[in-house]
């Protein structure tokens, strides 16, 4: 884990493996660290570069952060400072949304997009569960295919020492997520119009047991991005990155 200074802000960046660079943008749970998915991608010849999104534990909060575009501008700067050339973006959940925005705003900086159970759209008749209202355990139940095992799935990334530090991590992660997506709720009303013009080769991966974002969102992403295709993972929920890293790494590796 290294600390990058970007425009006066500290951003922690986890790097794993060597080879072709891939930027990974994490989910609402802030899973950055030694997770099996990174190992699996590394073993397929990739160098994973995973910055912690500002506000999540490990990276600074942004000053004067008011709007989504403040975050997108800054994430764009982070990847620019990393100096990786034209790099593919893999984003899960919140990170998928951020990847969509980056691809829309700066299409010539990125090579491809992989969107995994991504937020970002509002789909009529397919309401996203309110992650800010329910209890933590309600959310885990809905998010994961196997109920509430999030703590053990996150352990390799966070190496938390006790349940309180995990709790604190998740509180902070929710706060950082709310700072971006409280309202409009976890979507960008402009994204649907703009996404079609990003022109990036895009893979959409969806854990179909996701109780947070309905599968209809995968179909909507696909219909908005020309040439994109959807791979469904029937054994996973909201975070296939944690739930079935080997399978996901195969799918993502093949696409990249």
């Amino acid at each position: 884990m290294t600390t990058l200074s970007v425009d006066g802000k500290s951003v922690r960046v986890f790097q794993f493996g060597s080879g072709k660079p891939v930027v990974y943008l994490h989910s609402i749970f802030g899973e950055v660290g030694e997770i099996p998915f990174f190992e699996a991608l590394a073993s397929r010849g990739y160098r994973v570069i995973a910055p912690i999104i500002p506000g999540f534990p490990g990276s600074d909060h942004l000053d004067n952060f008011l709007k989504l575009e403040d975050m997108i501008y800054f994430l764009g700067r982070v990847i620019e400072v990393l100096d990786l050339g034209r790099v593919p973006l893999v984003g899960s959940s919140l990170g998928g949304w951020m990847a969509c925005e980056l691809g829309t705003w700066f299409p010539d900086r990125y090579e491809k997009l992989v969107l995994i159970n991504s937020f970002g759209l509002r789909v009529e008749g397919a309401r996203v569960y309110d992650i800010f209202r329910g209890s933590q355990h309600q959310m885990w139940d809905l998010a994961l295919a196997n109920g509430d095992g999030l703590d053990s799935l996150l352990e390799p990334a966070l190496k938390f020492v006790d349940s309180d530090s995990l709790k604190l991590h998740l509180f902070s992660a929710m706060e950082a997520t709310a700072a971006i997506g409280w309202n409009p709720y976890m979507h960008d009303p402009r994204l649907a119009d703009r996404l079609g013009r990003c022109g990036l080769d895009t893979l959409i991966v969806w854990g179909t047991l996701d109780g947070i974002i309905p599968l209809a969102h995968a179909e909507q992403f696909s219909s908005l991005i020309d040439g994109s295709r959807v791979v469904e993972i029937s054994t996973c929920g909201h975070v296939p990155v944690l739930e079935d890293s080997e399978f996901l790494a195969n799918v993502v590796g093949d696409f990249l």
């Binding site: 004067n64 800010f132 209202r133 604190l168 509180f171 902070s172 706060e175 997520t177 700072a179 409280w182």
Partner: protein, 383 residues
């Protein structure tokens, strides 16, 4: 020592069959406008009656989209009272600044109320409750910063000759020049409620405003928070000032302890179990993650966790009893905490109009004089 009658204007008609939250998603089809017509007028009458029987002030407040408190715009209620009362102060413990677009609207409306009443206004400024961030869509991670900037703009609008420019993070105004200016000089007293965060206490102390702890906790929570506030106040180099502290408590007084409990208990449980249900929601970023975890632990000291009358009495969640019992309890609490403003919630939950009036009358005639006699120069602080 000043005595205030605080009203929440609750909805007392939640059907037995409805047991879910009273906040955010409590269906507004449960509000009946015909009953609302009777209630609003009754509740306003109760506030006016409090002035009549001798209270120093009347308190209105602000809540949105819930059955707990039916005053979405407290300034409307203050305005109705402004022209119907002549003596009592009108304390608006509302104006949830982060929820509004333009803070100068608050500066203007408060100034109007202050001028019309000839300086009877107390200007509350609040962050708004956790549930209100769901109901308004305002981002809770921006709540504290919006509050602080809006408060700054309002106070400047009252005290700095206009027009001036204001360039904040949230609000930009090329011409800040609100008419009218407030009657009180430099501006009406400012009351700010807090849930125990040290940051709020320090800010209130630094600026010399007045602090009120959020109610319905075990008395030990007040003891801890009020001691912290007094320390903040003194650390700012200020002299002890009970006027810088307000205290809000549910109060019911009747002929005997037994009569008081008999008349009051069911209404208290309606309030605690039905109307407080859902108030504890704390959206992400509304407080720091550490405070949110502390607050989650403090739930055990909140009225919603109480199940027996004994706990109510032992924890002073509500002060209920004969005039002697209520005088003794309140004197001991005032002595201990040092508040110069005592706000009583004399109507609560389903408590009907006639018992509310009886409560107000008995308190004003048999409790207030004795407490005043006990603290002829107001309370003092232990420090």
């Amino acid at each position: 020592m000043e005595f205030y009658s605080f009203h929440l204007m609750p909805w007392p008609h939640l059907p037995e069959s409805y047991s879910d939250t009273a906040w955010i998603t409590c269906p507004n089809s449960l509000f009946d406008p015909g009953q609302g017509n009777l209630l609003y007028n009754r509740y306003l009458d109760e506030l006016e009656y409090a002035e009549e029987v001798g209270f120093d002030g009347l308190v209105v407040n602000e809540h949105h989209q819930n059955a707990y408190g039916l005053m979405p715009s407290p300034n409307l209620f203050a305005a109705m009272l402004a022209r119907r009362t002549t003596r009592a102060k009108i304390a608006v413990v509302g104006n949830a600044l982060p929820l509004y677009g333009l803070p100068t609207r608050v500066a203007e409306e408060y100034a109007v109320l202050d001028v019309i009443t000839g300086g009877r206004l107390i200007a509350g400024m609040v962050v708004g409750g956790g549930p209100e961030y769901y109901s308004s869509g305002i981002n809770p991670t921006q709540a504290r910063a919006r509050f602080s900037e809006a408060l700054d703009l309002i106070v400047r609008a009252w005290t700095e000759p206009g027009p001036f420019e204001f360039h904040g993070q949230f609000f930009q105004l090329e011409y800040c020049n609100p008419w009218p200016r407030p009657y009180q000089d430099p501006h009406p007293p400012i009351w700010i409620p807090g849930i125990g965060s040290i940051e709020t206490m320090e800010m209130v102390a630094q600026k010399g405003y007045s602090y009120t702890g959020i109610p319905f906790f075990h008395m030990s929570v007040f003891e801890k928070n009020y001691a912290t506030f007094r320390k903040c106040w003194l650390d700012c180099g200020r002299a002890p000032d009970p006027g810088a502290l307000g205290l809000l408590l549910p109060i019911y007084v009747a002929e005997t302890d037994q009569v008081a409990r008999g008349e009051y208990e069911e209404h208290l449980w309606y309030f605690a179990r039905r109307l407080l249900n859902g108030i504890q929601v704390s959206p992400p970023g509304y407080t720091t993650a550490r405070s949110a975890m502390r607050m989650a632990e403090a739930q055990t000291s909140f009225l919603t966790s109480v199940s027996s009358w004994k706990e109510i009495v032992d924890g002073d969640y509500a002060i209920v009893g004969s005039p002697t019992t209520v005088v003794d309890k309140l004197c001991s609490i005032i002595d201990n905490l040092g508040p110069g403003h005592l706000m009583g919630l004399f109507q609560l939950g389903t408590l009907p109009g006639e018992l509310t009036r009886k409560n107000l009358y008995t308190f004003a005639s048999e409790v207030m004089p004795k407490i005043r006699a006990e603290f002829p120069n107001g309370p003092t602080w232990k420090e």
